[in-house]
Structure formats: structure tokens, C-alpha cells
């Protein structure tokens, strides 16, 4: 065969792989720094400005005070005396309002972006996201049903349950139901990926019809509630939401990250993946269910947050390549950063009026995506 005259030293592949790995880790570190900076900025910024020092003191007190109360010996061993924040309102503003909202944005960004990158990898389709598989329409329908019939149903069946909790539950259940239906339809037709996507789109339209029907029959008050939920946002932030979502998000992230090599193998096609020892159907079922679980849990608290699940993985693929060991954490960091920065801009740009996060997110993410496309692929980091 013809001899290639370009790279031919025995360690060429080794050098290429190792240098690419270092650049990828550097990118992940840079994204982590951006996210931390965004968290600090979001905690300090708002209708009432809080200094970075006060924010630090509030956070330190929030961590250390309960620790010292629970473990009196620790205070004696490691005595740390911190002054109270200079602004007496700072504690309430930071821990009561901003931190839960920041953490909800971070957790939602992580969940949706990771779910999107995994779903795209599982189905080898760049248009797949939690939304193109019908999940968002189904969750919307569940929420709309809860908003319209919730008060009547809860009044008779579960008087102790708040209407917000019912909305969250219904959005979550219908999100899962959609994925189950999509999967069963695709499975009955040989589990081809095109059938899976088609089934997702069709199920999405059916639930969309249900949402439109609910809009049509609901009273003006309820209609406003539905529209607000559909717009999505971090209005529903609370420490309860953070405590529920943190283990869900962390657990799902770890499970999906451990599937990284199998997802890489799937990029060569189902047959090849199977021939190198992967149970493709089991991988796809497990991956889709975990990704659906993570995203529907977040959607239940935030309403519809589009774009992140589709665009964050794309942007990350351009930056860091197709290796899911790096792609999944990269999507998580970028998704969290984009959503948090967008939410902070959305609540401060016309302060005290808050605008929907989608407006800012589509602008920031869309412009960044266009920049990467126009910049060209030859200057990728891998």
C-alpha cells in the first residue's frame, strides 16, 4: 500500500492523544472557573447589591454556624471568628433568595445539558434533546392539567397537598410517561433510532395538542398560570428544590459519566458497538431513562427551559470533541454557566422587573454558537 509521508514517528498517536487530553482538562478547569465566577457575581448582583465580602461572610456563617452548633468540639479545635456582614439584610438576601435560585439554575443547567449530550450520543442524532423526544410537551401537559384541574382534584382527594407540588408531580410523571411511550413504540418497530426520534416528535405533538386544549378551556387566571409555567424560569427556587435536585443531579451525572466509553463506542453504529461487547438496547434504555429522570425532575421545578439541552452539547462538541468522558462534564459546566448567567442578567437587566430567562439565554447561547461555527473547526481544543 502507499506509504504516508506525514506523521510517522512511533509515538505520534501517543503524543496526539496526550496533548489533546491536557487541552481538554485545561478547558474543563477554565469552564469551572467561569462557573464559580458566575456564582459569585449572581450572589452579589440584584435589585439590592451585596458586596463580595459580605457574600463571603454570609456563606461562611451559613456553613460554619450549624457545624459549630452540631460539633462543639470542632469550635474549640479550629476556632474561626468571623464578623457579621456589614449589611444586616445580606444574610436574608443571599441565603433566603439568591443562593437557592443560583443553585437551582446550576443544577438545572447541568441536568438538561448532560441529558442532551447523552441523548444525542445514544441516538447519534444532533437534533435530539429532552425536547425533541416529546418530554417537554408531555411535562407541559402534565403541568397544564395540574393548573386547570388541580384545585378541584386536590380539594377532594389530597387536601394537604399544595397546588405547586401537584404541578411538579404531574410534570414529572408525564415527562416519564412520554419517554416510556416513545421507547415502547420504537421497540415495537425494531428499536431503530429514526423510529425513536419520529415517535418522540409524534408523542410531543399529541401532548402539545393537549396543552392547546387545556389553554382553550381554561379560565383567564389559569391561562396566565399555564403561560408563566410554559415560559420557564427560576421563580420556583427554594432550598427544598435544591435539596431534592442535588442528589438527583449528582447521581444521574455519575451514572451517565460511567457510561462514557459505551457512548463513545455507539458513535460507530449499533452493530459495531455490539461487536465490541456492548449491549446496545440495554445501554440505550438505561441512558434514556436516567437522562429523562434528571431533566424531568428539574423541569418540574423550573417550567420549560429550552435550548440548553440542544445547544450546550453542540457547543461542547465543537470545543472538546466527541469523547463523552470529557463531553459530559463539559456540557454540565457550560450548561450551568449559560443558564446561571442568563438568569442573572434576566433578573437584573430591567431590575426590579424580571424578564423571562429564555430571552437572554437564546441571545447569549445563540451568539456563542454562531461565533464557534464561523470561527471554524480547525482551531478546536482537541
Amino acid at each position: 500500500m502507499v506509504q504516508d509521508t506525514r506523521i510517522h514517528s512511533p509515538s505520534a498517536v501517543n503524543t496526539l492523544y496526550r496533548s489533546g487530553g491536557l487541552r481538554r482538562i485545561a478547558l474543563l478547569v477554565a469552564l469551572a472557573i467561569i462557573l464559580i465566577a458566575a456564582v459569585i457575581w449572581a450572589a452579589c448582583t440584584g435589585t439590592v447589591e451585596v458586596s463580595v465580602h459580605d457574600t463571603y461572610l454570609v456563606c461562611a456563617h451559613a456553613v460554619l454556624d450549624p457545624l459549630y452548633t452540631a460539633l462543639p468540639g470542632l469550635a474549640a479545635m479550629v476556632p474561626v471568628t468571623l464578623p457579621p456582614p456589614s449589611d444586616p439584610q445580606a444574610t436574608l438576601i443571599v441565603t433566603g433568595f439568591r443562593l437557592p435560585r443560583i443553585l437551582l439554575a446550576v443544577l438545572t443547567g447541568i441536568s438538561l445539558a448532560v441529558a442532551g449530550s447523552v441523548m444525542q450520543g445514544l441516538l447519534r442524532n444532533p437534533l435530539v434533546s429532552p425536547f425533541t423526544l416529546g418530554l417537554s410537551s408531555a411535562a407541559s401537559f402534565g403541568a397544564a392539567v395540574a393548573i386547570v384541574i388541580g384545585p378541584a382534584v386536590l380539594g377532594t382527594m389530597a387536601p394537604g397537598m399544595g397546588n405547586d407540588a401537584f404541578i411538579i408531580l404531574m410534570a414529572f410523571l408525564f415527562g416519564w410517561l412520554s419517554m416510556f411511550l416513545v421507547y415502547m413504540i420504537a421497540r415495537s418497530r425494531g428499536m431503530s433510532q429514526s423510529m425513536l426520534i419520529l415517535a418522540g416528535v409524534v408523542i410531543g405533538y399529541i401532548f402539545q395538542a393537549g396543552v392547546m386544549g387545556m389553554n382553550y378551556i381554561s379560565s383567564s387566571d389559569r391561562l396566565r398560570d399555564i403561560v408563566v409555567w410554559l415560559m420557564g424560569g427560576m421563580w420556583g427556587a427554594s432550598w427544598n428544590a435544591v435539596f431534592i435536585l442535588t442528589p438527583v443531579c449528582l447521581g444521574c451525572f455519575i451514572i451517565l459519566e460511567l457510561m462514557a466509553w459505551d457512548l463513545n463506542a455507539l458513535s460507530s453504529g449499533d452493530d459495531v458497538a455490539q461487536s465490541i461487547g456492548i449491549n446496545v438496547e440495554r445501554l440505550r434504555l438505561k441512558g434514556l431513562m436516567v437522562a429523562t429522570f434528571a431533566s424531568s425532575c428539574c423541569l418540574a421545578f423550573t417550567g420549560i427551559i429550552g435550548f440548553i439541552g440542544l445547544m450546550a452539547p453542540h457547543i461542547c462538541r465543537m470545543l472538546i470533541g466527541n469523547d463523552h468522558r470529557y463531553l459530559i462534564p463539559c456540557s454540565a459546566l457550560l450548561g450551568a454557566s449559560i443558564l446561571l448567567i442568563s438568569d442573572t442578567v434576566a433578573r437584573t437587566i430591567l431590575s426590579p422587573v424580571e424578564i423571562p430567562v429564555g430571552i437572554i439565554m437564546y441571545l447569549i447561547g445563540g451568539c456563542f454558537f454562531l461565533f464557534l461555527i464561523l470561527r471554524g473547526r480547525g482551531r478546536g481544543l482537541y
Partner: protein
């Protein structure tokens, strides 16, 4: 590795694609699987690769039933290159070939794994393209990358489904030389589905001819690739031309 197929029957739903096929392949042999379109070559290869489950019959490698083997164990023994290849955007040549080492990689990639990737790429003359993206390659180059992925897997049994279909004449010969070396130097067993009768005649130790899902003939190329057999399977008249380079099959009338 000795491969034994015993009365294998495989179907897609109610349509039987391979019926009662039995043959044995000895270690180090290169076996060409030939036959017209739809004769069941790809189905048989997928069945051996355990991608399709046979309705009846059994396949054993070195006496072990492949249906009872663990997928990872199987992956270290059988390498498969499909007829239609798939890749995703932003995948590089190196990453694609590295997937061949998947059965041996837990998480991080050792220098040893990377040197195997290097050797596999060198074997198909693609070492210089390790950093290129898959969608920047020509169809022939991509095919060579997928062959390199199977080489990196280093199994004892290679299954190639029409590996020369996208290649020009020079690269067809190059790939067939590589498969030949796998058999002679490494002692690997190679089954390759081919349409080119001359390649089968020149490079295979044995030829298995299939038609309408059934095995028509199996044996040495000189014994089974006869004008009568080709006429009955393909409906084509051929003559055998001999010169200083050997014997060649020339189709003369359809």
C-alpha cells in the same frame, strides 16, 4: 481459532435469509464468502458476529458456543467491520480506531493501547491522518479507518463485510494483502464477504459460495470457482485467462 458453523438458520421476522449453513474454518485461513446480492453473506457474517441471533444451529469457536460467551469475552475474540459504516461529527481517526480497544479499556488509556492504535493505523497507511476528522476523509480512507479499528481490536477471528467496496483498485489490493498477512503472520482466521471473484480467487484459502441463503459450494478457490458454478449462481458466462501473473476470471456474457 477454529470456527464451526453447524446448520445455521437466520431470519428477519418471517423471512429466512440464511438456511442450514454449515462449514468449518481452520486457524490462519482466509475464507472468502461470495454470492450474488441478497444471497445471505452479510446476514451470515452478522450472525457469526452475534449481532443477529440464529433461529437454529450453533456456532463454536475453539469448541466454545458463542451464544454462551460473555459479550466482552466475545469482543476480544471476534472483530467485525460492517458493510455500511457510521461515524459522528467531531470524531477523529484516532478516536475511532481507539474504540477497537474498548474491550480492554476500563477508563484511562495506557501507552500500550495507544501504540496498538498506532500499529493498526500504520497497517492501513493511515498513521499520518490520526488527527483528522472522520468527515474530512474520502470514502476509501474511512473504510481503511474502520479496518484499522478491527485490527486494533486484535481478535483471533476477523469478519469483514465487503471491505473493498469503496476502494480503488490499488487500495483493494492493499486491503486484501493486509487480510492475507493477518492469516499468514498472525495466525488469525479471516472471513471476508466479497463481490470481486478475482480477489477471492487470488487471496482466499477457501471460498464459500452462497445463493438464496444456502451454501452452494465450499472449498479451495480452484475447486469451487468454476465456470459452471459461476454460471449457476450468477447466471454469467466466464472464461479463465492465464498469463505470467496467474489465472484470472473474465466475465464474457451476462
Amino acid at each position: 481459532m477454529e470456527l464451526v458453523l453447524d446448520t445455521i438458520t437466520t431470519a428477519y421476522g418471517n423471512t429466512v435469509a440464511v438456511e442450514d449453513v454449515s462449514f468449518t474454518v481452520l486457524p490462519g485461513q482466509v475464507v472468502a464468502l461470495i454470492g450474488p446480492n441478497g444471497s445471505g453473506k452479510s446476514t451470515l457474517i452478522k450472525t457469526i458476529a452475534t449481532i443477529l441471533k440464529p433461529l437454529r444451529g450453533s456456532i463454536t469457536i475453539d469448541g466454545l458456543d458463542i451464544a454462551r460467551m460473555h459479550p466482552i469475552d466475545l469482543a476480544s475474540r471476534i472483530g467485525y467491520v460492517p458493510q455500511q459504516y457510521t461515524y459522528t461529527l467531531y470524531s477523529t481517526v484516532m478516536e475511532t480506531v481507539l474504540l477497537g480497544r474498548r474491550p480492554y479499556i476500563k477508563w484511562s488509556v495506557s501507552d500500550e493501547e495507544l501504540s496498538r492504535v498506532q500499529r493498526a493505523l500504520e497497517a492501513v497507511d493511515m498513521a499520518g491522518s490520526a488527527g483528522r476528522f472522520m468527515d474530512q476523509l474520502s470514502g476509501g480512507e474511512r473504510q481503511k479507518v474502520f479496518i484499522a479499528r478491527a485490527l486494533a481490536q486484535e481478535p483471533a477471528l476477523y469478519l469483514f463485510d465487503e471491505p473493498t467496496s469503496a476502494l480503488d483498485i490499488r487500495h483493494q489490493l492493499g486491503v486484501m494483502e493486509t487480510l492475507r498477512i493477518l492469516g499468514t503472520s498472525r495466525g488469525a482466521t479471516v472471513i471476508v464477504a466479497l463481490h470481486d471473484l478475482n480477489l477471492a480467487y487470488r487471496y482466499a484459502d477457501r471460498v464459500v459460495i452462497m445463493d438464496q441463503g444456502r451454501l452452494v459450494a465450499a472449498g479451495k478457490p480452484q475447486d469451487v470457482l468454476t465456470p459452471d458454478c459461476i454460471r449457476s449462481v450468477y447466471g454469467v458466462e466466464t472464461v479463465f485467462v492465464t498469463n505470467e501473473h496467474g489465472e484470472f476470471i473474465l466475465p464474457v456474457r451476462g
